[in-house]
């Protein structure tokens, strides 16, 4: 039965209660959700930890002296790993936020409000943008801090810098999409764990090293561990990877909008284009090192002179890869200080910058000592411990004639080498400790150098320590006067002590195996 009353049929219309500003509503909702996201404990804690760690790493790097000489093609990807925890927290918490209405039964109400579900989905994605922006600002600040250092060399990549913020955005979109697909709070944590397990299984199945194409499917591929390489030898498909991340982010965003009911042609087209971009990114980043790159790395490792330019300073040739030519003045300062202490007893010197690029960016293979007389190796890192290490290399060549001759020095010449290397340092005792593997100034120990380490006995260590406490002018005179004997492998430690004016060892070291002491 239908009952109708017949009142006067006068109908009225009211103006809309709210202005027709759906996009403004999306932005307002995104701001609201961003604030809520920040108040989630995991996001807040990990963001705070990330900011703290970023500041700490800047301070720590300043303290070890390496930060004054950054290599920008490494500095651009150094900040990629730290924001991953922020990304993880964002993924889980934005997923939680999207599921909020369903979990608490407000969907029935919100479903009839003017802001449609797909716009709410978009707002959730946009709520992640401030966090990606914070990461972008931190990454940019870290890189700019490095790039503005007078000692900076090399070239950074915008694509590498984009990786960290893109990772946070991608994580947010994954969280939103998961929530729209699976209405369970367990889906996102299980997804994260499942992804991790999958990567471990694949890694184990492929002998601990994932195939190149698989490695680069990961959002962040830091490739650290080796010494910095010239930009041309990096072989990192950074631009393709950034395209892959950006494409994947937009693809998943499109999927989330489609799932949320926005099944329109523009969204479908954008999603399809983004999918194509993702595929192009994957295709571009997957091939691995090209033959040309492998050859170039071999040339740089075996015949660096083919890639280098040389400059003459005070009779010493300094040969560097193009991006490092500005650093020859720093090297020359060390060489001149050591030469001055040695009194000019040397052949014509050549400082050659070298890298071992054949094992890629993660290989940390040691450089083989050069056989040529007067040839001194310098690496691609500078500052901090690298300075006294280089000084050890210079002093070794001055004393032994060549790196090959100097390799494995553990006879009495080690005392002269170490005094020459350390006496010119601003804080010799501190440099002595830092240049040794054990960070000590007593007992036997290995001393780091650009090529092979130097072995010191306990008595040699004591003698160097005593020499460093004596006036530099006195020791310099003694070194210059006794240069011939001090640089002879036949000279005993007792004789060296006598020549340099320090207490002789109570017992002469084993001449057959002096390193045993």
């Amino acid at each position: 039965m239908s009952t109708t009353v017949t009142p006067p049929a006068v109908e009225v219309t009211r103006p809309p209660a709210a202005k027709d500003r759906p996009w403004a509503a999306v932005l307002a909702l995104a701001r609201f959700e961003a604030r809520e996201l920040l108040l989630h404990v995991p996001v807040f804690v990990f963001l705070l930890l990330y900011l703290g760690y970023s500041v700490y790493s800047l301070v720590a790097a300043e303290r070890d002296g390496m930060a004054d000489y950054p290599v920008l093609q490494d500095a651009d990807r150094a900040p990629q790993s730290a924001p991953q925890l922020v990304a993880l927290a964002v993924l889980l918490c934005v997923n939680h936020a999207v599921l909020r209405s369903r979990r608490h039964g407000t969907e029935r109400h919100f479903g009839v409000l003017p802001v449609r579900p797909w716009r709410r989905t978009l707002a959730h994605v946009l709520s992640v943008v401030p966090f990606a922006a914070v990461v972008a600002v931190v990454v940019t600040a870290e890189f700019a801090w490095a790039a503005l250092k007078p000692g900076a060399v090399g070239h950074g990549s915008v694509a590498e810098l984009a990786v960290a913020p893109l990772t946070v955005l991608l994580a947010g979109v994954v969280g939103v999409l998961l929530a729209r697909l699976i209405h369970s709070a367990f889906a996102a944590p299980l997804f994260v764990v499942g992804l991790y397990v999958l990567l471990v299984v694949i890694s184990v199945a492929s002998d601990g090293t994932s195939p190149h194409w698989l490695t680069w499917l990961s959002p962040v591929v830091p490739e650290t561990g080796g010494a910095p390489l010239p930009s041309a030898l990096l072989g990192r498909p950074a631009a393709w990877h950034a395209l892959y991340l950006a494409g994947l982010t937009v693809t998943l965003l499109g999927a989330a909008l489609l799932v949320s009911g926005r099944r329109t042609r523009p969204v479908a087209v954008v999603t399809a284009v983004a999918l194509a971009a993702t595929a192009a990114g994957v295709a571009g980043q997957s091939p691995g090192d090209s033959r040309q790159l492998t050859e170039a790395r071999t040339v740089a490792s075996v015949s660096p002179e083919k890639d280098q330019s040389c400059a003459l300073r005070a009779g010493v040739r300094y040969c560097a890869f193009p991006e490092w030519t500005g650093r020859t003045a720093d090297w020359a300062a060390v060489v001149e200080r050591v030469e001055r202490l040695a009194g000019g007893h040397h052949d014509r010197l050549t400082v050659r910058q070298r890298v071992e690029a054949r094992y890629g960016l993660t290989g940390d293979a040691a450089l083989v000592p050069l056989a040529g007389p007067g040839q001194i190796t310098v690496g691609t890192e500078w500052g901090g411990n690298r300075v006294p290490e280089f000084a050890v290399g210079v002093a070794s060549v001055l004393v032994a004639g060549s790196e090959k001759e100097a390799s494995g020095i553990c006879d009495a010449r080690a005392v002269t080498v170490m005094w020459l290397a350390l006496a010119a340092q601003p804080d010799p005792m501190s440099a002595f400790a830092h240049v040794r593997l054990d960070d000590g100034t007593e007992g036997p120990g290995a001393v780091l150098a650009p090529t092979e380490p130097l072995a010191m006995s306990a008595e040699q260590t004591r003698m160097v320590r005593e020499l460093l406490h004596r006036p530099s002018e006195d020791v310099t005179s003694a070194v210059r006067a006794g240069w011939t004997e001090l640089t002879s492998p036949e000279t005993s430690l007792t004789r060296v002590a006598h020549l340099l004016g320090v207490r002789a060892p109570e017992k002469e070291e084993n001449r057959d195996d002096p390193c045993a002491a």
Binding site: A9, E11, V12, F32, H109, R120
Partner: protein, 286 residues
């Protein structure tokens, strides 16, 4: 009456059941009560009018907006305040945040104006003092008032309230009545309820729904008048009465068709409602 909401022939089936069966009605400004037993289709009708579900047949307009088109539906939603049955809430939001969130979903985008509006509606439901308190720390009655504030935010022209007084204690119900009466000033309010008292106290019009059909549409007085001469008192429960119960005085109050010479009583809205339902059932059987 100036018609603000007009529905014609609304029909909705859930499987083989007709939840709404050719429902037509017209509403004007003020509070209209929607009475009916459980399963009468009240919530379904409200959900259709709130555009939560589309009707299989029929049409309606709200303040001139026709939800038949996407644009019309969107315009309608901008004029709508909806308080669903058992409204959910976000426990970690404060009362202010929850209403603010709804305000954003109603496209109130200017932050300052929106916050002013949120404060206004929270003040209207007498929750200013606890607006910063988390929802999980509010009593059931307070939460219900927050939900009403959320429905009121943005000053909607059409307010749909689905059993808002369920679960409230008598004091809270009285307070809620006050709020709904205020809300009905100058806007159209459709109030679904089981409580005939609420309708008697609040509504200027009433619609009785049963079996998905409109059984009555008129004023509360007209519904009450349906029971005129059909309520009587007796020492025992009258055998022919539709309903009868012992009152506090010890006599029985009977509703139905009275015998000759019965001691007739003044009818109430509830009597009219009971008779309307009973008449409907009889007509259906016939």
């Amino acid at each position: 009456m100036t018609v603000t909401v007009s529905a014609s022939g609304l029909t909705l089936r859930y499987g083989g059941t007709r939840a709404l069966d050719d429902v037509s009605l017209r509403l004007g400004a003020g509070v209209t009560g929607l009475l009916g037993p459980n399963g009468a289709g009240k919530t379904t009708l409200l959900r259709v009018l709130a555009t939560a579900v589309p009707a299989d047949q029929g049409s309606f307009t709200v303040l001139g907006h026709d939800p038949g088109s996407a644009a019309g539906r969107q315009d309608l939603r901008r004029t709508l305040g909806y308080l669903p049955q058992n409204p959910g809430f976000h426990p970690d939001f404060s009362a202010f945040e929850f209403v603010d969130y709804v305000a954003i979903l109603k496209e109130l985008t200017d932050r300052t104006a929106r916050h002013r509006e949120v404060r206004r509606v929270l003040d209207a439901v007498d929750l200013s003092e606890v607006r910063g308190r988390r929802m999980k720390r509010l009593s059931g009655g307070m939460r219900q008032r927050v939900a009403l504030a959320a429905a009121l935010v943005g000053d909607p022209g059409f307010l749909v309230l689905d059993e808002p007084t369920v679960g409230l204690d008598p004091e809270q119900r009285v307070r809620f009545r006050e709020l709904i009466a205020q809300a009905g000033e100058g806007r159209t309010v459709l109030l679904s309820t089981h409580q005939t008292e609420d309708v008697a106290m609040l509504c200027h019009r009433v619609v009785v729904l049963a079996g998905g059909q409109v059984r009555f549409e008129g004023t509360p007085a007209e519904l009450t008048a349906r029971a005129a001469g059909r309520v009587w008192s007796s020492a025992e429960r009258a055998p022919g009465a539709r309903a009868g119960w012992r009152t506090g005085t010890g006599t029985f109050r009977n509703v139905g068709d009275p015998p000759e010479g019965a001691d007739l009583l003044e009818p109430t809205l509830e009597d009219g409602y009971l008779l309307t339902l009973g008449d409907g059932e009889r007509e259906a059987v016939a």
